[in-house]
């Protein structure tokens, strides 16, 4: 009798199991109604975008959905996207947006809330573990608790330091405090072959991002929770003086450099260290373009913070769907695929910049890519820049003033006073501060 019950149970299990498999979610099944659709994906010229383009044929084959990838430099990405969204043309179906843009696009009503897709059993993959995305990146994708996409590109800015160069000159690394850091820069500057640090000091978003790390390292802030501007307080002045001094140990012309130039300089071993975005880890290990394979190490930005919190700067981006898109479901399937565990994992070293914790915790990958440990540690504690729509205007102000400081056209106090006055005006105009 017992055996019979067992047998029935086992066969029931088998039958249900097989049925469940047959009727379970699959990308092929989910994509059937959208086969033949063409979607256009606008993204930044970043390593993960290149990886997605490389992996794309498998998605197209599985779904019958054609994807056109349009890569743009950071400012032009928005230029194209905003024109399309404002006019409601519906050219783009998938949009790679920086987390600092979330507020702007949500408030303008340009991007779709994601919960309706996440909760649609026909579209959402039940095996997609959304909890695996780092909380900060998930938060960056969301506005008022509602997600507007899936985190696509983990971009955390911290210190890239070349261990081989540090060792060669007998400098202990990584530097932990600003003093050690400046000392290392001085010891590692041997022009014109080698400079103590790279810098992204162009009048560009890059200088603002880089400087924010130093500002935070000196316990500075742009403004407090009540929007009282702090850019010209004592800590900010100290931080900016430090940032200016860094330029003495940087190659000539860093006032025209962005993250791209810093990356090349790191790859060529012209600079011993620099603050740089973690998504570039793969390019350091690529023997075709890098002279520093196996030499790069990663650490938080040296800090003098009272609370001792490690400093890094989160700058990641997510994939979302414009309200004007005419292929929203197909777009969702693409986003789900592009940010899936499997696709992110297979792209490691080929450009993929995973946003899922589980990938960073794979021991073999940690051994091969030293940045993985650093990113995993930073993802919990990383600082981030303002996400209010007025941030663009503040970038304009800060980029000009900071670049003027590094270029020697203005002194620190004057530049920060001007920045503070202008940021105050922006915050008042935006209605944050009376």
């Amino acid at each position: 009798m017992k055996r019979a019950v067992c047998l029935v149970m086992v066969s029931c299990f088998l039958v249900f199991g097989v049925t469940a498999l047959a009727f379970g979610w699959s990308l092929e099944e989910a994509a059937k109604p959208y086969a033949g659709a063409t979607i256009r994906f606008i993204t930044e010229t970043t390593p993960p975008s290149y990886w997605i383009e490389e992996a794309l044929p498998e998605f197209e084959k599985a779904t019958g959905i054609k994807v056109i990838v349009e890569r743009q430099a950071h400012p032009h990405l928005e230029e194209k996207a905003l024109m399309d969204f404002a006019a409601g043309t519906g050219i783009y179906d998938v949009f790679n947006f920086d987390y600092s843009w979330t507020g702007k696009y949500v408030k303008a009503g340009y991007i779709e809330p994601f919960d309706k897709y996440i909760n649609d059993p026909k579209l959402a993959d039940p095996n997609n573990d959304l909890k695996d995305f780092y909380p900060r990146m998930w938060e960056g994708t969301s506005w008022d608790g509602v997600p507007y996409g899936y985190p696509f590109d983990s971009v955390i800015e911290y210190l890239f330091w070349n261990k081989a160069i540090f060792d060669k000159y007998g400098v202990a690394g990584p530097p932990k405090t600003p003093d050690e850091w400046m000392d290392a820069m001085a010891k590692l500057t041997h022009p014109p072959e080698l400079y103590g640090t790279g810098m992204q000091a162009k009048r560009h978003l890059s200088i603002v991002c880089e400087w924010l790390n130093v500002l935070w390292a000196f316990d500075g802030e742009l403004y407090d929770e009540n929007y009282n501007v702090l850019v010209n307080n004592e800590n900010a002045i100290k931080a900016t003086e430090f940032y200016k001094k860094m330029a003495e140990y940087a190659p000539p012309g860093v006032t025209t450099w962005t993250w791209d130039d810093v990356n090349t300089a790191l790859q060529q071993g012209i600079v011993a260290q620099a603050i740089q975005w973690d998504e570039n880890y793969g390019s350091m290990e690529d023997p075709e373009e890098s002279k520093v394979v196996g030499q790069m190490r990663y650490a938080p930005v040296p800090t003098a913070r009272a609370d001792g919190k490690p400093v890094s700067h989160y700058g990641g981006s997510s994939l979302g769907i414009p309200v004007s898109s005419k292929n929203k479901e197909a777009a969702f399937l693409f986003i789900q695929w592009a940010t899936s565990y499997d696709v992110q994992l297979r792209g490691v070293g080929k450009g993929s910049s995973p946003t899922r914790r589980s990938i960073y915790q794979i021991p073999e990958l940690r051994a091969k890519y030293p940045s993985f440990e650093a990113t995993d540690a930073a993802a919990e504690t990383t600082f981030w820049r303002p996400r209010i729509p007025e941030w663009d205007e503040m970038v304009e102000v800060l980029a000009l003033e900071l670049n003027s400081v590094v270029a020697g056209a203005k002194d620190v106090k004057e530049a920060l006073a001007t920045s503070a006055a202008k940021i105050e005006e922006i915050l008042v105009k935006g209605g944050y501060k009376k």
Binding site: R203, P252, E396, S404
Partner: protein
């Protein structure tokens, strides 16, 4: 049966002769329509934008719509506007002056010597026919801080320190851009002035030769006065172009370092594509348009009064 085609032709030609005036208009009409579509309409639309609160990055319901001259008032209060206006005027004044004198000297040297050589002509025209963005990128490499050829030469001549680079220094960035513009547009002056020189009547020169006038006097008393109309035309064209300069600035410096190369077009670009404030950007465009118009009207007035007289 009457010959229809013949009678049609007759009717047509009689219509023409009777209403020649109307016919003229019929011929111009397509051009007028085209011009209205591609210049008048966008200009009026831009004027509407300039008078409204229009920002791409803000929700439609938060925009105020028509706001009168607020944008213009904001611009005139903006310090950046005045610095970029000053930079633009300085840029224009220097490049047009240098290009003119260089162009005139080279045209005089080349006159009659090698003008008929196609190769020389091609080489002279080359910088001018290159796409502006290509010019920009080429010069970006020449000015590059590590391996740029110009940077290298400047350092070898001890004119520039190893601590800096042409586009990285607030003192040298604007002159560096001026050099690019001069390199690109002097050929235009050469070609136009050469054409002007070759078209001059020979009689005054023969008279001068008989009188054994010294070359400088010939130039000052004959060539220059005869060439005046041509000179004024190229100056008008170059001034209008130089005030609007954008492409090389965008490709080489984007207005930096600091505000050193912040020209008006860059100011417009940043307001529209970094700040999404299309209303304000349109207003600045109008200010730029007025500046160009005023200068052009003055120059064209001068031009209409100038006659090629010896």
């Amino acid at each position: 049966m009457p010959n229809t085609s013949f009678s049609l032709y007759q009717r047509f030609s009689s219509w023409i002769s009777k209403t020649e005036n109307r016919f003229k208009w019929a011929l111009i009409l397509p051009t007028i329509v085209l011009l209205a579509l591609i210049t008048v309409y966008p200009t009026l639309y831009a004027l509407r934008l300039a008078l409204s609160d229009y920002n791409l990055a803000r929700a439609a319901e938060t925009l105020k719509g028509y706001i009168g001259l607020t944008n213009f008032r904001e611009i005139l209060r903006d310090v950046t506007f005045w610095t970029s206006l000053r930079t633009t005027v300085l840029f224009m004044a220097v490049v047009v002056t240098v290009e003119f004198f260089l162009g005139l000297v080279i045209a005089l040297i080349l006159q009659g010597v090698i003008t008929r050589s196609k190769i020389v002509r091609t080489f002279i025209l080359l910088p001018m026919i290159m796409a502006p963005i290509v010019v920009g990128l080429t010069w970006t490499y020449l000015y590059q801080s590590e391996f740029g050829l110009v940077t290298y030469i400047l350092r070898q001549l001890r004119l520039m320190s190893y601590r800096t680079a042409p586009l990285a220094d607030v003192r040298t960035a604007l002159p560096a851009l001026m050099v690019v513009d001069i390199w690109q547009w002097t050929p235009f002056l050469i070609m136009v002035l050469l054409a002007g020189l070759e078209a001059l009547p020979t009689a005054p020169y023969e008279a001068a030769r008989i009188d054994k006038a010294p070359p400088f006097l010939v130039f000052r008393k004959i060539t220059l006065p005869l060439l005046k109309p041509v000179i004024l035309i190229v100056l008008v064209l170059r001034i209008m172009d130089a005030i609007r300069v954008f492409d090389i600035v965008y490709a080489l410096t984007e207005g930096g370092p600091g505000e050193a190369t912040d020209v008006l077009s860059m100011f417009i670009y940043r307001n529209s594509f970094y700040l999404w404030n299309i209303g304000k950007a349109s207003a600045i465009s109008f200010v730029l348009l007025y500046i160009i118009m005023i200068i052009s009207v003055i120059l064209v007035n001068v031009l209409s009064r100038v006659k090629a007289t010896v």
